[in-house]
């Protein structure tokens, strides 16, 4: 703790400075400071949606870039996502109340036969951290569970994860079933897991393969933007 840090009083910063400071504080996983800054912006009559997008989501975008580039690693990213979640807790009821556009809702789970969930958990945490709503189905999900959850939750995105080469092919069964039921194009399908690659994602008919949790967030945002533009 430096004196400089003690001297920094968030409420004395201008809006622009405060938002940039929030990007830094998210980067450093400082949960209390993020909560405080969110409250300051709201007190200054910022729209909840602007606090979300300009301060929090933008801050997490920067974190995501450095994660992708191998500058930050999982522990730092999870701390940042935790700080973001604290801010989201304040914003969520306000966002719902104001009818602001939602970022999107994702149903995520490890495919049938696969019991490895650490990668899936990371993606779920990062997605939540980025402001998405996440419904986590856990491990070992048969196709029926995915489809039922997509429908019941009115989800936008399906995320499937597999660590094993023997189970990753089950993703194709899920996608084929969606095609057969005529609902494939209703959802954005993202796949991930250590043994997968882009080629595999294409081969099975997913929208995208996501190399890591940060890429998953970026890809989800990109596809949600496209979806909104189509409407």
């Amino acid at each position: 703790m430096s004196d400089e840090e003690d001297d920094l009083i968030l409420s004395e910063l201008s809006d622009d400075e405060l938002v940039l400071q929030m990007h830094d504080d998210l980067y450093d996983g400082m949960a209390e400071e993020i909560t405080e800054a969110v409250n300051i912006l709201l007190a200054r009559k910022w729209l909840p949606y602007d606090v979300l997008t300009k301060a929090l989501v933008e801050g997490m975008r920067i974190v995501g870039i450095d994660f992708r580039d191998g500058i930050l690693f999982v522990p730092e990213v999870l701390l940042a996502a935790g700080a973001m979640k604290g801010g989201m807790k304040i914003l969520k009821p306000l966002l719902i109340e104001s009818g602001a556009p939602q970022l999107g809702k994702m149903v995520i789970g490890t495919v049938k036969g696969d019991i490895h969930d650490i990668g899936k958990n990371l993606v779920a945490m990062m997605m939540e951290g980025a402001g998405f709503e996440v419904v986590d189905l856990g491990i070992n999900n048969p196709v029926e569970d995915y489809l039922a959850a997509l429908k019941a939750e009115k989800a936008d995105i399906l995320g499937m994860s597999a660590l094993l080469t023997t189970t990753m092919t089950y993703m194709k069964i899920v996608i084929d079933t969606m095609v057969a039921e005529g609902i494939r194009d209703d959802y954005i399908v993202l796949v991930g897991g250590a043994p997968l690659n882009e080629e595999f994602g294409k081969a099975i008919g997913a929208d995208a393969y996501c190399r890591d949790a940060a890429v998953a967030v970026e890809t989800a945002k990109e596809y949600m933007d496209r979806k909104h533009n189509q409407l």
């Binding site: 830094d24 191998g70 522990p75 036969g113 019991i115 250590a194």
Partner: protein, 334 residues
């Protein structure tokens, strides 16, 4: 003296085993089933798995207990069977080793809990130690020579396992998986692992890397470890290449001949215990043994030489070259 330390004092190198999970699937394990349940339900198949490694020339094999912590078994509602399932995994191993007619080390495999430790995650240090200890007790009870914690990403979890092994005074080895830009998922570099291990009060018999990305990547990791001149023997247990999706099937692109080259290069890099991981079958191990016996010890390869023989690396840098990554300039704090 424990059996592994003794064997290491007699030999210049040891061959470890190959894959457990992918081999069990080949024997009919249903995807989604806990492999550890087979220790009790299908003991003949587990014996066949161990015999596969022994007959291919392995000096060490790991027991079928990778997911044997309460945290993992809970996913199959078998969290109350930790001690039993681990004990039986080691018992079958002990029988197989003793029937082989030569010195074979039974290493009790301990995999990650799958949970993220505090402060980032929810798993406390105390609970992690408790779970590892419960598993370790079962494995030693069943006759394991050493414990072998593997595929770990977080230094906190590695230390928790070490502490658990210390609590029951068991000899141990430990390897981490370097699968993210040459580092572990949690960002630990190969050289940082050497420093981390050096500070553990109950020193392992040997340490190193397993799994990760492909054969080339793990040798870069071993070079990174060895450049710190660690006092302990170094372990390399790499995957048989990289999984590829071809015509609806998955196969690892590492042939037995490639793995033979990998084994010799691993020894030249400084590894003393050499084996495979995912995708490594007995046919790979046979070629690896043959190559290690027939090829003389050479000098450590350069990164370019590794790349030329085993293929490219998954990332440009592995965090050990001193090229510091660009640090984000913060405005006022830090």
């Amino acid at each position: 003296m424990d059996a592994l330390t003794k064997l290491l004092s007699e030999r210049d190198w040891l061959l470890a085993d190959g894959a457990t999970g992918t081999s069990l699937f080949a024997m009919g394990l249903e995807a989604g089933e806990a492999p550890e349940l087979w220790n009790v339900d299908q003991p003949a198949k587990i014996r066949a798995l161990y015999d596969g490694a022994i007959n291919a020339g392995s000096d060490i094999f790991l027991t079928n207990s990778f997911g044997g912590t309460a945290a993992r078994l809970k996913l199959h509602n078998a969290q109350d069977r930790v001690r039993e399932l681990n004990r039986v995994a080691a018992e079958i191993g002990r029988e197989a080793a003793d029937a082989s007619g030569r010195t074979i080390i039974v290493a009790g495999s301990v995999g990650p809990t799958g949970d993220i430790m505090e402060p980032v995650g929810d798993l406390s240090h105390a609970r992690a130690v408790e779970m590892f200890e419960e598993q370790a007790v079962g494995l030693m009870e069943g006759g394991a020579d050493v414990l072998w914690v593997e595929t770990i990403s977080a230094p906190e979890e590695f230390r928790a396992a070490a502490e658990a092994f210390n609590n029951i005074n068991a000899p141990w080895c430990g390897t981490m998986s370097f699968d993210t830009a040459g580092r572990t998922m949690m960002g630990l570099t190969s050289t940082a692992m050497v420093d981390m291990v050096a500070e553990i009060p109950n020193q392992p018999i040997a340490f190193g890397a397993n799994c990760g990305v492909g054969a080339a990547d793990i040798l870069r990791t071993v070079l990174g470890i060895c450049k710190k001149n660690p006092s302990l023997p170094v372990i390399a247990k790499g995957n048989a290449g990289i999984p590829k999706y071809v015509d609806g099937h998955i196969h690892y692109d590492g042939t037995p001949d490639l793995m033979a080259k990998y084994a010799v290069m691993a020894r030249n890099c400084g590894a003393k215990i050499i084996g495979g991981c995912c995708g490594t079958k007995p046919e790979h191990l046979i070629k690896m043994r043959e190559a290690l016996e027939n090829m003389p010890l050479g000098s450590a390869p350069t990164l370019a030489e590794i790349e030329a023989v085993l293929g490219g690396f998954s990332s440009e840098d592995d965090g050990t070259t001193g090229k510091a990554p660009p640090v984000r300039i913060r405005r006022r704090r830090k």
